[in-house]
């Protein structure tokens, strides 16, 4: 059953066209990964699904209506975006005012650090708080914008496992942005490969044998064909 429907989506920042004529549907409960080089409009697309950015063309529909941030969607950002003057608990409470959020902190293994300020936490712990905040919103759609990009390889792998475990406990649709092929293959039910300038859907694939080499090859071609594009080539 379709949960998110994207029709003819287009957007430009000044003279730069970020997205052009993008159509996509996401099924309820699906874990969709948007994969592509930097500058292909992945984050722009995610912000539009979140209802944070108004498209200049086309529309995004969640269950047939415009997405309402916090109600339909919850978002995890790459740079955590924790409120630095609030403790871990208060940051999680921000998404769900007036509620006991101990359970969410426990889910991400941070009960002992509930009263710590973000500045005192490690990168991995900060991202766990951000994840707990998104889970606390209890929104049916979880949007994740390269959430583990600034973590070291070991912590990133650990967090991917944790995310899978947490998603399994709740019926959520997830749209996850990354430019890491391995990360996409580890998490996705379906991978949407995006091409840059303007951002368009190049291909949709499902994780499977031989897909790692194929996706690397496709990304390499995209970068070579677009000198302005940027691909870090991390084994994410």
């Amino acid at each position: 059953m379709t949960h998110i429907r994207i029709e003819g989506l287009g957007h430009a920042f000044g003279a730069v066209t970020a997205l052009d004529g993008l159509d996509l549907t996401v099924r309820r409960g699906e874990f969709l990964v948007l994969l592509g080089p930097s500058g292909c409009g992945k984050t722009t697309l995610l912000r539009m699904i979140a209802g944070l950015l108004e498209p200049k063309a086309g529309r995004v529909l969640v269950d047939g209506h415009r997405p309402e941030p916090g109600h339909d969607t919850a978002m995890v950002f790459q740079n955590y975006r924790l409120i630095p003057w609030k403790t871990a608990r208060q940051n999680v409470e921000f998404a769900r005012p007036g509620t006991d959020v101990s359970g969410y902190l426990e889910m991400v293994g941070l009960s002992r650090f509930a009263d710590a300020f973000p500045g005192a936490l490690s990168g991995g712990m900060r991202q766990r708080v951000a994840l707990a905040r998104a889970l606390a919103a209890e929104a049916p759609i979880l949007l994740m914008d390269e959430p583990f990009a600034s973590l070291d390889a070991q912590t990133r792998e650990l967090m991917q496992g944790e995310l899978r475990r947490l998603i399994a406990t709740r019926p959520s649709t997830v749209v996850f942005v990354t430019h890491g092929v391995d990360e996409a293959l580890a998490l996705a039910d379906r991978i949407v490969l995006m091409s840059p300038r303007p951002g368009r859907i190049a291909e949709e694939v499902r994780p499977g044998p031989g897909m790692r080499e194929y996706l690397w090859q496709r990304l390499r071609e995209m970068v070579l064909n677009d000198p302005g594009s940027d691909f870090y080539g991390r084994e994410g």
């Binding site: 630095p84 003057w85 005192a120």
Partner: protein
């Protein structure tokens, strides 16, 4: 508070007191007879002024003007700065006038203030207010404008409305700026207290400064200077403590 910070603070204060003791000793040794009083003479003059009660009356007069001026500056400056930052059109219309006023030496307004408010408490308080209000307005305004756009977007992503974003993100983010504005305003306010007491009815510590300066009673003159410096240090340190408290979350791992 971490033990290391306490230790650092104690060491800094010990070094400050040591430096002051060194300066006093050097002064005692160097002071040219007749022209400048020795620290001992200043001390005795201070004891005399305190015993007569004249010093405390002057301190009371000056502090009442200072506190009234500072309170007015905070009451006007903080809401004005917040409004200028929060309502962008208002801010853009008004900020050029605030910058113009901030760049004009406040002494230029004193004749006008005397004409309008006389030579008494109101005029003095207004001179203090005029000096202190500018850093409060400008820093509060800058604090609101410096609100973290990423945090605002995060807050929007949770469904928070404008009021909630302002209360939880914009205002707390502006507080350290606001505290800095108050600290700068407090320093300028103290200077303006003395300026007001020199230019209007001669009273308070500024008045004593004028009297002892004009009659070359340098020991008493230095007592007043030392008292003003002490008030300045107490106010600045208190404001710094407030700033540190508001920024305690900045401690990084």
């Amino acid at each position: 508070m971490p033990r290391r910070t306490c230790g650092n603070r104690a060491m800094i204060w010990a070094l400050r007191l040591g430096l002051m003791a060194g300066v006093v000793l050097l002064w005692e040794w160097w002071a040219p007879g007749g022209l400048l009083p020795t620290p001992g003479q200043v001390w005795h003059a201070g004891i005399g002024l305190a015993a007569e009660g004249r010093l405390w009356r002057a301190v009371g007069d000056s502090l009442s003007i200072y506190v009234a001026g500072m309170a007015s500056a905070a009451l006007v400056g903080i809401p004005l700065g917040l409004a200028m930052g929060s309502f962008r059109l208002f801010g853009r219309v008004v900020d050029v006038f605030v910058f113009a006023l901030a760049a004009t030496p406040r002494v230029a307004f004193i004749p006008l203030i005397i004409v309008l408010l006389g030579l008494g408490f109101q005029a003095k308080t207004f001179i203090v207010f005029l000096g202190a209000v500018m850093p409060v307005v400008l820093n509060t305004y800058a604090g609101v404008l410096a609100a973290d756009r990423d945090l605002i977007e995060m807050a929007r992503s949770t469904g928070a409305g404008r009021g909630r974003i302002w209360r939880h993100v914009v205002l707390p983010g502006a507080l350290p700026f606001l505290a800095t504005g108050l600290r700068l305003g407090a320093t300028i306010g103290l200077i303006n207290t003395v300026v007001a007491e020199l230019y209007t009815a001669v009273r308070g510590l500024g008045g004593l400064l004028a009297i002892y300066g004009n009659t070359f009673r340098m020991a008493e003159y230095f007592v007043i200077v030392a008292m003003l410096a002490t008030i300045g240090v107490i106010v600045t340190e208190a404001m710094r403590a407030v700033e540190a408290h508001l920024s305690r979350w900045r401690e990084e791992r």
